[in-house]
């Protein structure tokens, strides 16, 4: 009987290990948050944040997971960053109290509260977005998700793309509405390596 119990434990251990949540650390060189907002009712202007960090966990067997992302708002980039003789660039303006207020709120963050799966992959990540000191429920739709080994380093990695939209005025970013649109579309490209 004792031998049987030991054998059962020995058999179960690898299964337990396989079912444990896997923890991943974000690759900052391949993880970016992008945004798009309407300008003067004419065009959709885009930008991105250059620095994002965070972690995520995945448990494929239990179909659960978690995500924590932290975006440095001072890394906002619209492509307009050469001032010349102008008083400011668009990047300068985006950093002021009119928009991302980076001196006061240097980070925006997302912390998941639940991950939905469709098949083997996450399809929707619900959570809380904190922007300008205001925290609101926020859901990312996962548009694409792949887990595999990095072809070069052979390290296990997962990543994909997610998207969402928000109303910036709900976070207190009211400057320029409606000339500069209230609705902001967001995309996140994310890659992480298993710890």
């Amino acid at each position: 009987m004792k031998k049987f119990a030991l054998g059962a434990i020995a058999l179960a251990l690898p299964l337990a290990a396989a079912a444990a949540p896997e923890s991943y650390t974000i690759d900052p060189n391949h993880t970016y948050a992008y945004f798009e907002v309407e300008h003067l009712g004419v065009s959709l202007q885009r930008g991105r944040f250059e620095r994002t960090s965070g972690k995520f966990t995945l448990d494929h067997a239990a179909k659960s997971g978690s995500v924590e992302l932290s975006v440095e708002t001072a890394s906002v980039s619209s492509g307009d960053n050469v001032k010349g003789n102008r008083p400011r660039t668009l990047d300068d303006h985006l950093k002021t109290a009119d928009f991302f207020n980076v001196a006061e709120f240097p980070r925006m963050s997302f912390k998941s509260t639940g991950v939905k799966f469709a098949g083997d992959n996450p399809s929707e990540i619900a959570g809380q977005l904190t922007l300008l000191g205001v925290t609101k429920p926020f859901t990312l739709k996962v548009d694409r998700w792949v887990c595999k080994d990095n072809p070069m380093s052979k390290k296990p990695m997962c990543g994909g793309n997610a998207s969402a939209s928000l109303k910036r005025t709900e976070f207190g970013m009211k400057y320029g509405v409606p000339a500069i649109g209230d609705e902001v579309r967001l995309w996140v490209s994310i890659e992480g390596y298993r710890d």
Binding site: D92, A97, E104, L132
Partner: protein, 273 residues
């Protein structure tokens, strides 16, 4: 109509001016025309939508304080006879309050930088509050100082990147302009008192401090703006409110314009700033 009200110049200038003019005309006989600044700022806040309670950002805290201060001003005018120490004491109180306003920014700086920035904005707010309060019995100089201070902060803030600070400061200036215009149209002075002087001094001081801390208003431009109330103390013609208002505004305007120039990158490069 909505398109008109969405125009930044209307939100920060024309609409606040019109509201302030109506308030100043309606209340000058009750010695409360000083509420013009609060009316102007309140109109801008309503149209821009920047008010939040509880306040989260420095700008929201500034707007909350600036809209509450006129109540204190009215109480001071109705219930107290301020002594010579009142201005410096009020300056110190509102100067220290800016530490609460700017706490989110200051706590993220290195200790030395936080101390320097904190001491600078405390001094700026304390000085502007006390300097404007000292003009409370001289409605023309008080009006001219607040007009040129508000517009100077507004243009400087716009040049140094913050449109919302520019709009709010311009609205305070517009309110002071309406207060001054009522005197010019009546051909006589009307009471400024603490209601006007405290409202204008605290709002302008806090908005300049906020633009300096949270945006990129250079410290030397803020220092130049601090001289605006002093400039309005220069000699004025003995009679004629019209002429006095224009001359006092020109004094303040020259100093305010200098601050605006110091916020312009071309000038900064030329001066090696």
């Amino acid at each position: 109509m909505q398109e008109l009200l969405n125009n930044p110049a209307v939100q920060g200038g024309l609409a606040p001016f019109a509201a302030a003019l109506a308030v100043a005309f309606a209340l000058f006989s009750f010695r409360l025309a000083g509420l013009a600044v609060a009316a102007a700022l309140g109109t801008a806040v309503y149209l821009i939508g920047g008010f939040a309670f509880p306040p989260v950002s420095a700008q929201q805290k500034i707007l909350l304080i600036s809209l509450a201060v006129p109540v204190l001003g009215v109480i001071v005018d109705l219930a107290f006879k301020p002594t010579r120490a009142a201005g410096p004491v009020l300056g110190l109180v509102f100067g220290l309050l800016v530490l609460w306003v700017g706490w989110n920014v200051l706590r993220q700086k290195e200790a030395a930088a936080a101390f320097a920035a904190g001491a600078g904005v405390v001094a700026l707010v304390a000085w502007l509050t006390a300097a404007c309060f000292a003009l409370r019995d001289d409605p023309v100089r008080a009006g001219a100082a607040a007009l040129t201070l508000g517009l100077g902060i507004g243009v400087s803030a716009l040049l140094s990147a913050s449109g919302s600070y520019a709009q709010y400061a311009a609205s305070a200036g517009a309110g002071a302009g309406a207060f001054l215009l009522v005197q010019m149209l009546l051909g006589r002075t009307i009471q400024a008192g603490a209601t006007f002087a405290l409202s204008a001094g605290v709002a302008c001081g806090l908005l300049a401090a906020g633009a300096s801390l949270g945006s990129q208003l250079p410290w030397y431009a803020a220092a130049a703006l601090a001289l605006v109330p002093v400039a309005t103390l220069l000699p004025l013609p003995r009679s004629g409110v019209w002429l006095q208002a224009i001359v006092a505004s020109a004094y303040g305007g020259i100093v305010g314009a200098a601050a605006c120039l110091l916020s312009w990158p071309v000038v900064q490069q030329r001066l090696g700033l």
